[in-house]
Amino acid sequence: MSETQAGEPVDYIAETRANYDALGFPPYQWVESSGTPPWSPAEVPLHEAKIALLASGGIYRRGQRAFHYKDDASYRVIDTSVPSEDLRISHFAYDLTDAREDPGVVFPVDSLRSLIDEGSLGSIAPEAFTFMGGIYSARKVREELAPALVERVVDQRPDIALLVPV
């Protein structure tokens, strides 16, 4: 982090707790993992690596169904050659203004293609996967959405995967 940027990183866990408390709701249960995170070493150099892209900012493509705002655990398959003018955003929990004007702020497919063009990244998997974060049921994500996404991603045999949450 630049030393000249004022202030400390926002603590969203504390902020959400305070918001819920002020509204009289029971505390939100954040996912807390214990133990050491899983790990696979990155073995392929970036300029040869095939990358998979997953994003939870509520991105869909023209012609696809938008997300709904009540524990929507569905996902969309988006061709990574998609023109950015065909990308749309629906999400209940963040200000969508900038993302709708420039989807690159939450779905960096143009940046990845540009890195491939300049030779610093190998390639991108043909399909990206998008969903809408803010799914209140951690169980639904753990038992249904995440395993389905893992299977789809592994099918494309990427070397690395980039997750872009909002």
Partner: protein
């Protein structure tokens, strides 16, 4: 990549790159393709730089020179004076929330013949 450090620490991602921007800008500022590319490039370098599970690389990009946006980060750094008080959340509607009315017409036309195959769990 993440712009919510506390949440990423809590879930225990294998490796992460943190960008200290308001929510809704995980991969950069709008209409700044060079900055977006720089951020991604620096984040991807973390695949090889981070060597321990749970490592988080702090990306060296600034949102602005002052901390005003931190007062209301969930509204994308909008001025707090413009923000409504009380419950900030959008109603939890269970029907698709299209960006444009024309999106709904196109999607319904595509799905009328059966599933499109790319809206998994939403057919």
């Amino acid at each position: 990549m993440t712009s919510a450090l506390s949440i990423t620490r809590s879930v225990g991602a294998p490796r992460a790159a943190f960008v200290d921007f308001p929510l809704g800008h995980t991969t950069g500022k709008k209409n700044e393709p060079e900055m977006q590319k720089r951020l991604i490039k620096s984040a991807l370098a973390a695949f090889h730089e981070l060597r321990e599970p749970g490592g988080i690389k702090i990306l060296d990009e600034r949102w602005s020179d002052d901390a005003t946006w931190r007062k209301d980060p969930m509204r994308g750094g909008a001025s707090s004076a413009d923000a409504p008080e009380g419950d900030f959340r959008t109603p939890r509607l269970d029907t698709p929330q299209y960006q444009l009315p024309s999106d709904q017409i196109e999607a319904e036309a595509q799905h009328r013949q059966g599933g499109c195959g790319s809206c998994v769990g939403a057919e």
